[in-house]
């Protein structure tokens, strides 16, 4: 006589150690195997899009800081590019270089957080997380030199960055650039060949490229599936066409590839920063922009390759000082579209790891 079993529904989250915030997953288990899953959002919804409609174009920058709060710099960059596209403003060259340096530093920081928390989800008792945070702290120190804050940066302005980097920023950045490759080697020594990690992640939750593209998945998750779709390369904004870098791609699109691709991207980001340091010249960092920008009536969709995927801002202007519509295309939310499809049939432990490998940020998911 077969054992009679009943599926059981568990609410994983919104208070759970590894849902990366307040995500709630309504999961139906058969034993430990996932039969069905539905993400439930909204626990961190702050109405950023509505708030943005009541703020001037400069004030909105402070809102973008709080979307993906581990990657404020890239949020700023995406918004500022969209606003510049809308208003027809061209940032000066040095400003663009500074933006790229800051954004790439932020990408490294964001990927460090992603890697650390992925390993935490895998059950490594916070050790890789602490190592990753150690390096992230140094990046935050650099941000503090640049703009006086560590998390909510508000560094960029429409038409450049608000202020040039201080004198002591450059030696500190060079020192960081000299140290970081060794730390990356150390992570690789600690993690990439670890049998337990490989066993846990290889071949788990496979996402193929066609499916990923169809579900609008972008960023490292899409590239891990084997499609070299990187807006920095394909649609170079700012000065990305002047720097050399590779787009790392994965093969299988499993959790291991999604983990590995972030480490490879960190190396590429360091390469970009190095070239930027060599190329950056003197000059102004901010175009002459009135403090209250009134873009012409129209709309613009600005997008960048954020650490988590294509981060876009769709701005509609009615000619006033505030955007008429301030829409955020958040990669974290849209990447979660495939979560159900790649999880069904896997186990509870895989669910946590897959969620970690997609690397979401609830501030951006719920906005």
């Amino acid at each position: 006589m077969p054992i009679r079993s009943e599926p059981v529904t568990v609410n994983v989250g919104p208070q759970h150690p590894s849902t990366h915030g307040v995500l709630r997953l309504r999961v139906t288990f058969d034993g430990e195997v996932i039969l069905d899953m539905e993400p439930v959002f909204g626990y961190l919804h702050r109405g950023s899009e509505k708030l943005g409609e009541e703020r001037t174009y400069t004030q909105v920058i402070t809102l973008t800081d709080r979307l993906d709060y581990v990657a404020s710099m890239t949020n700023n960059q995406a918004y500022v590019l969209a606003a510049e596209k809308l208003a027809g403003i061209q940032a000066p060259e040095r400003g663009m270089y500074l933006r790229v340096i800051a954004a790439e530093l932020q990408r490294v920081a964001s990927h460090l957080v992603a890697t650390g928390f992925l390993l935490n989800d895998l059950g490594a008792f916070a050790t890789p997380l602490m190592y990753c945070f150690r390096e992230r702290e140094r990046i935050l120190d650099l941000f503090e030199m640049l703009c006086g804050a560590r998390i909510t940066l508000s560094y960029m302005r429409v038409g450049g960055v608000f202020q040039d980097a201080p004198e002591d920023f450059w030696p500190a950045l060079r020192k960081f650039m000299a140290d970081m490759p060794h730390y990356l080697d150390e992570y690789e020594q600690l993690l990439t060949d670890n049998e337990i990690l490989v066993t846990r992640t290889k071949g788990v939750s496979i996402l193929n490229a066609d499916h990923a593209l169809n579900a609008s998945v972008t960023g490292p998750v899409l590239r891990a599936s084997g499609l070299p779709w990187d807006l920095r390369k394909i649609d170079p904004y700012e000065i990305y066409n002047r720097v050399q870098f590779d787009v790392p791609v994965g093969k299988a699109g499993d959790n291991y590839d999604r983990f590995k691709i972030r480490i490879d991207e960190m190396r590429q980001s360091l390469r970009i920063i190095e070239q930027c340091i060599d190329q950056i010249g003197p000059g102004p960092v901010r175009a002459i922009v009135p403090s209250l920008i009134r873009p012409p009536i129209g709309d613009a969709y600005g997008r960048i390759e954020g650490p988590k995927g294509e981060l876009g801002f769709y701005l509609v202007s009615d000619g006033s000082i505030a955007p008429y519509r301030f829409k955020i295309r958040s990669p974290s939310l849209i990447n979660l579209t495939v979560l159900r499809d790649i999880l069904i049939g896997w186990k509870l432990a895989d669910m946590i790891v897959t969620l970690g490998s997609i690397d979401i940020n609830m501030g951006e998911v719920d906005r």
């Binding site: 959002f41 909204g42 919804h45 109405g47 899009e49 509505k50 499916h211 593209l213 169809n214 579900a215 609008s216 998945v217 972008t218 499609l227 779709w229 394909i234 649609d235 170079p236 709309d299 969709y301 997008r303 294509e310 876009g312 769709y314 509609v316 008429y324 519509r325 829409k327 295309r329 939310l333 849209i334 979660l336 579209t337 495939v338 719920d366 906005r367």
Partner: protein, 150 residues
């Protein structure tokens, strides 16, 4: 470099495939009739030479007299992008066909537009609110939504 396909070019091609679907075009934007959005999108998605296989974003904008649903689509094969817009009239039950059957990525985005803007997508398999809870009064991103109900 991703080329932004002018609306005029798309309109010319759509004239043949889906006659009467195009309302207007300007620069890179193309306005189509909301009821025929699925047909237009299927054409854009599957027509060789266009092949818009990546749906970047779906946005809803409230222009008070009508809602505008904006589709940003990109082709990773031909490296071009387009902006498709659909004007939906009526404030009570504005609706237009869903494109989830073409792009799975429309799933959460359409739900978000419904949740915050109140534009319903017909044919969506799971048309529930996404960020707010079921039964939340009003649609916050509409321009006539001024204050959260207590």
């Amino acid at each position: 470099m991703i080329r932004e396909v002018p609306g005029e070019e798309l309109a010319r091609r759509l004239q043949v495939a889906c006659p009467g679907a195009v309302e207007a075009w300007q620069d890179i934007s193309l306005w189509v009739k909301p009821q025929r959005i699925l047909e237009v999108c299927r054409f854009l998605n599957q027509m060789p030479g266009l092949e818009f296989n990546l749906l970047n974003s779906i946005s809803g904008v409230d222009y008070i007299e009508h809602f505008e649903v904006v589709y940003h689509v990109t082709s990773t094969i031909n490296l071009h992008s387009a902006v498709i817009k659909a004007r939906v009239y009526g404030r009570e039950e504005p609706s237009l066909p869903s494109v989830v059957s073409l792009w799975q990525g429309a799933d959460f985005q359409e739900r978000e537009v419904w949740d915050l803007m109140g534009v319903r997508f017909e044919g969506h398999p799971n048309m529930k609110r996404i960020l707010l809870w079921e039964g939340y009064p009003g649609f916050p991103l509409r321009k006539d939504y001024l204050e959260a109900p207590r």
